[in-house]
Symmetry: C3
Subunit: 434 residues, 3 copies
């Protein structure tokens, strides 16, 4: 039971933009041509030939031609969906009219690309009435070109306060007979323009984190059965920062992210997939340190936590704070300080175990997670029970559902998935929960 989605993919990990026409090159379509030939982890779930900000205004007519030509040639074999971005602005009727013309041309059946165009990305939308203006153009285009009404998806870039407010209206407006907003697909944050529109400033000029915008986008997507995607991460070399951002986004229910390079696409395609091997974390002064697995034991080798035996008890030091604890207290304390990151295999195991329990009539079971911690050479066995009921099961299922969605729609990634996890885990993960 969930909000009904009007499109194929349940999840979109990657939203990769390419300039449609680059000036001063022998072949202005170079970037779109190479993007169209990406495969496997380098190929995005959604590819966006970008005829707006990434392409100079003077090159956008040529951009339309390039989209038509490249999608006609390579579109049928492209493993992801194709959603060109056209121009649009909530405050400029002439820009909106240009966007309409670009879409009309790209989808002209005589041009041969339309069969491989899944939809369009509309930037700079305003309040919901502005979204409806774009939707109306889609409807007219579908009618003119003999396409099925509602067959072209519409994705929007949320980059103004008005558009953020509209996120609260989508669910209510979508069902109305006077529009075809059921064509909505991705809600994408555009933090650069949003920052400008909000007139926000930071000392270094870096973008504010905008946690509320991302929450509201994710909530709007959830309420209307759409998919939330975060905006571009400018610092292309900062892979660690990109990963942290994605982890933060996933905790908000925002599974997808913009990618500016094939390298970012690889990171963002892999980001939401559970790890091959599980790991233990120790929380030290607000940070979480990954422990080193050594023969089934988890070794901490930093200086911030210390442990020694003392008479019949222990002395545990955390930062500058020392406490004497008996064995039970120590276990309790260390349990509170540790956490386990389950592997794909672990998640599948737990789900299978819960399914078997449910089959035999139990509504809730305890899942045990145990290990041996080693701090300053002192070994302590810890063990944690977590109650699983139907709700826990379903919440844990999200990464598996995502994996299955990827597996179904991206055969070009099967080989890499098998290399990452092994054939056996991949097979169990594709079958569990169905």
């Amino acid at each position: 039971m969930s909000v009904k989605r009007h499109y194929d993919r349940e999840f979109v990990r990657t939203f990769f933009t390419s300039p449609t026409a680059v000036e001063g090159e022998d072949d202005s379509a170079k970037m779109v041509e190479s993007a169209a030939q990406l495969r496997g982890m380098q190929a995005p779930d959604v590819w966006v030939p970008d005829n707006e900000d990434a392409t100079a205004p003077s090159m956008r007519d040529e951009g339309v031609e390039n989209i038509v030509r490249v999608v006609s040639e390579y579109g049928a074999d492209f493993p992801g969906e194709i959603h060109p971005r056209v121009v649009w602005h909530r405050e400029s009727p002439s820009t909106r009219y240009q966007g309409f013309q670009q879409m009309l041309e790209i989808t002209d059946p005589d041009n041969g690309a339309v069969d491989d165009i899944d939809g369009f990305v509309i930037p700079e939308v305003g309040d919901i009435d502005d979204w409806k203006k774009a939707d109306e153009f889609f409807t007219i285009i579908e009618n003119e070109h003999g396409l099925e009404e509602g067959s072209l998806s519409m994705s929007v870039i949320v980059e103004s306060g008005e558009a953020e407010l509209a996120l609260g209206d989508i669910r209510e407006e979508m069902g109305k007979p006077s529009n075809n907003l059921e064509r909505l697909f991705l809600l994408v944050d555009g933090e650069v323009d949003y920052t400008k529109d909000m007139r926000a400033m930071t000392p270094t000029g870096e973008l504010p984190p905008w946690p509320e915008l991302r929450h509201n986008t994710s909530r709007g997507a959830s309420a209307a059965g759409l998919i939330a995607v975060d905006g571009p991460y400018d610092d292309i070399r900062d892979v660690e920062g990109y990963r942290d951002r994605m982890t933060e986004n996933r905790a908000k229910g925002m599974t997808g992210i913009w990618s500016l390079t094939p390298g970012q696409v690889v990171e963002a395609n892999k980001g939401p997939l559970p790890p091959k091997t599980g790991s233990w974390l120790l929380e030290v002064g607000g940070d979480e340190v990954e422990l080193e697995a050594d023969d089934g034991r988890q070794v901490y080798d930093g200086d911030d936590v210390g442990l020694e035996e003392s008479g019949d008890g222990y002395v545990l030091r955390v930062g500058g704070d020392e406490r004497e604890l008996d064995e039970d207290e120590l276990r309790e304390e260390l349990l509170n300080m540790t956490a386990y990151v389950p592997s794909m295999d672990d998640i599948v195991d737990s789900m299978e175990e819960f399914e078997a329990a449910k089959e035999s009539g139990k509504g809730a079971i305890a899942m045990t997670r145990a290990t041996t911690l080693v701090i300053d050479g002192v070994e302590v066995d810890i063990s944690n029970d977590r109650m699983w009921d139907e709700a826990t099961y379903q919440a844990a299922q999200t990464p598996i559902t995502l994996f299955q969605d990827v597996y179904e729609h991206r055969p070009d990634q099967h080989e890499e998935l098998a290399e990452m996890y092994g054939e056996d885990v991949v097979e169990r993960a594709t079958n569990v929960g169905n």
Copy 2:
């Protein structure tokens, strides 16, 4: 002057759920029977016999019978309110119809429980139109059973994006003649299902903190005169974590929290009450350390802050950073680094002092807080004036209003309150501000 509330309690600290029927026990009603007999700090403000997630689907008919029987027997003497949770789902008409039938049966006057049923908890609601469907069933039930229209309270669990959006509509919808939404009472967050609905993921599987959801729930409650309650805290052994969560919630205006055990009920009943004794905090590198009171002086004995006299001044070390300060600068600096947590007695004192000042025609007075800090053996007297005006007074009054609400409605807790604070403080606290 405040939004009018349509129920007795102004505050609800505790929302305690019990499975209505447990399989494989001699007496399937065991859990509800023992919960119904809780008293004092172990008894919740709102008790929720849970005929939804806590009870296996196959046991829910028996759960209805158990609720009827146990509430008939123990309900009249139960010190809190009783609000069973029935089944409901925004996307399943059959589940909604089952919920209706459960409520109809529990409130049947022939069954003898209805006089002690204060209302029902409706889980898994969707947008505001879905809330109205539940409200309509309440109205029909009241009519069928000859109860006063609007006499049964309705509380909802917010565990979907749609329901979160509906929090912005309550105030506007409540007054309409075609519904009885004035029966609304508690807005309860359900973070497990919300996380699932938002398709959020964290590496360790722990729940995201969802600060925006809690804010929106609290704001929705404030705007419509309702009460906001946070969802379950799964790690039952982690008392410190549960307390921290409640402190965070109170700073958002969310006074109540779900409790899964009588032990959590005790913590959550006491959590919002001011402490017996005041204490001083020293801010050290982002953390706040409680100083040790010693004969009117406040002693810091950690290593992160150091102080020594030097010629005619002082050297203050904070972390790795040393600064030479004269006496005034030192006082200023230490004032900025310290904070005082007032006791119940302190709050009553301040309120009485302000009331006297107001009586004598003053609109604002300075409240002084002074002590002697001891760091590395060096003593420094600090003193802080804070201006109190009507607004400060009223904001400070919230914990006292809460205390008075508890004192009025929970005579079974009087003895424990007297033990906690002493008779004298209890008496003054019950009288101040009225």
Copy 3:
């Protein structure tokens, strides 16, 4: 292209309140008289003679007289706008009627002040229908006094859950023919009363940070072409805290803040202006430390980061964590750890450079920022390229637009601005981007 604003100032940095009538003074108008004569950085962008909370209820009739007299005398020469605050409450018709009478009296042309009254501040508003009640009184007053309809601005204090919800309705309601809400100007948060209304509590009694409220206020302002202003910062001596709050606010698009003293006005007038000189930051364990500029090099002299040469590589120590890196890896790592805070001069340079590039047909250029870091005596050259396109340019422009707005509307601050930046930088900053 941006949402149309119906007022002169594009930015308001400072919102300074003064009690209109103080009891027990020879001259009850003392505070408003001295405020009216402030000039330069001590004078606010918006001055608010406060006939509500800052003035005792018994003094408010005299307060109205004082406003009339002082504004008649000093108003024409006051360098900022003048917006008295009158009484209002969403739940009290008598308070609302008093507010109407106060406004009617202050704007009576026979009293001579109206020409220098720019508008009024309405506190304690509720939902949008309550805002319309206030707006209707403005309209009646304008009509009675022969003023142009819509000529008096209306600013509101958001200090209830209802008012926060109304922030989502402004844009939609503003255009309706039955109101004159186009007169809206400032959206000001009032956290003391908001905290009371939300019934929030903190252990020390200090105000919760309310990040969501500030976001929603800023977003509401952005969507409706208004200006967002944060509430009072009570701890007047804590200049550092006030500055940090403003930095946080600006990252949310909230450029203005309440000021309680001329000292706070100076801080808040200067806060949003770019610094005279740029500086480098090093991120150390979550904090950002400003490096010491020494002859073009940036020197770190703390203990938390260490660097030494080792064979043909380097050992970088961050906290307790040591890593061996070759030169390229070291540069990469240090680049990730550093950030640059550009000066006014730097921002103007970058904008000019981008404008020149655009002129010559380029849509995006790389801006290079390079320096030499010195850690433990080891020197490392680092250099960072950041891509600037039209969107980056426009986002970077916000502080310059603010500066130009200040320069245009506040000639009384020209001298201080020239002292801060030098004539040359001021002149270039006033011309760039136009």
